[in-house]
Symmetry: C2
Subunit: 183 residues, 2 copies
């Protein structure tokens, strides 16, 4: 079961810096792209920034439809996450190649990835080009998370909640446990 | 001992999404601010995005000097990191209050925090306002890291390399170990 988050809480899915799978759709084929370069931007309106290389196949999908979704993968799909980050969707269907499952979004035409624990649906609010990168500022239209994996915060202490954090190259890390000031 | 990183590798200090301590300086007093909302933006020129609330005392420092530094704290200074994120520098000197140690930067007048394991010196390249937030795009002028804590990537598997990742509210997580596709 999933539960919906208030839009100004959507950023709590990425606040700790996990790798994200960005889905996009050109009207015919959906694509999946792995990105580590994201950040919350603002609460009201709820905005999230996502950086995409100008060579990325996903770029033209997003420019065409002005929509994308942020899907939060975990260690369980590390292999698929690396695959989607090291191949182009130009000549392949990454959903088919990985076996990841499409599910319908609430507010946009872009499919979500069922195997991910959290989903944020975005419409492009602004975009800026810097060097070889495009920074998309997405306005959050809907956000949801696996019911078991969120109470006061994302439950990265649970086995099913081990988000992936990209250290560069082929190296990732996963969260150990939840700590607070008294830990 | 610290070693310098090539400027297009500076982003590897924040690629996995750690909380950062932003230092700034108005010519008289330095300030420290805790931020979770950062992202690499581009390699060449090397750019990093940092989001700061418009109410933050650090904002006027950065607007005045167009400089800031990104310091990477670890679990060892969790208490100081939380303190700097929950107090304003308007009426206090956070270096004095926390006991954190200033050290000189290479390219900017803003002091760095000695107890942090990595440092990125930035000059403001662009800035954008969204709602109550200001997104600073900083150009990296210098970047360094503790020699023991970086080889192919940041060594978050070592005790001294346990960066902090903010889950929201009073909750943080720390990295467990380094994994790659074969793990």
């Amino acid at each position: 079961m999933k539960k919906y988050l208030k839009l100004d809480k959507a950023h709590l899915l990425i606040n700790h810096g996990p790798v994200c799978l960005i889905t996009s759709y050109d009207g015919k084929k959906a694509n999946i792209m792995t990105v580590a370069w994201t950040t919350p931007i603002n609460w009201e309106p709820p905005l999230i920034g996502v950086v995409i290389g100008e060579q990325a196949y996903s770029l033209k999908n997003i420019l065409k439809t002005n929509e994308f979704a942020i899907n939060i993968p975990t260690r369980k799909i590390l292999k698929e996450t690396i695959f989607c980050g090291s191949t182009s969707g130009k000549n392949i269907d990454k959903f088919k190649e990985t076996g990841l499952t499409k599910c319908q979004a609430d507010k946009i035409k872009v499919p979500l990835i069922k195997e991910c624990i959290g989903h944020i649906e975005c419409r492009v609010f602004k975009k800026y080009k810097f060097g070889d990168s495009v920074l998309f500022i997405g306005e959050v239209l809907s956000a949801s998370v696996d019911d078991d994996l969120f109470d006061k915060c994302l439950r990265v202490d649970k086995l099913a909640g081990k988000t992936l954090h990209h250290l560069g190259g082929k190296y990732f890390t996963i969260p150990e446990k939840i700590i607070s000031e008294r830990s």
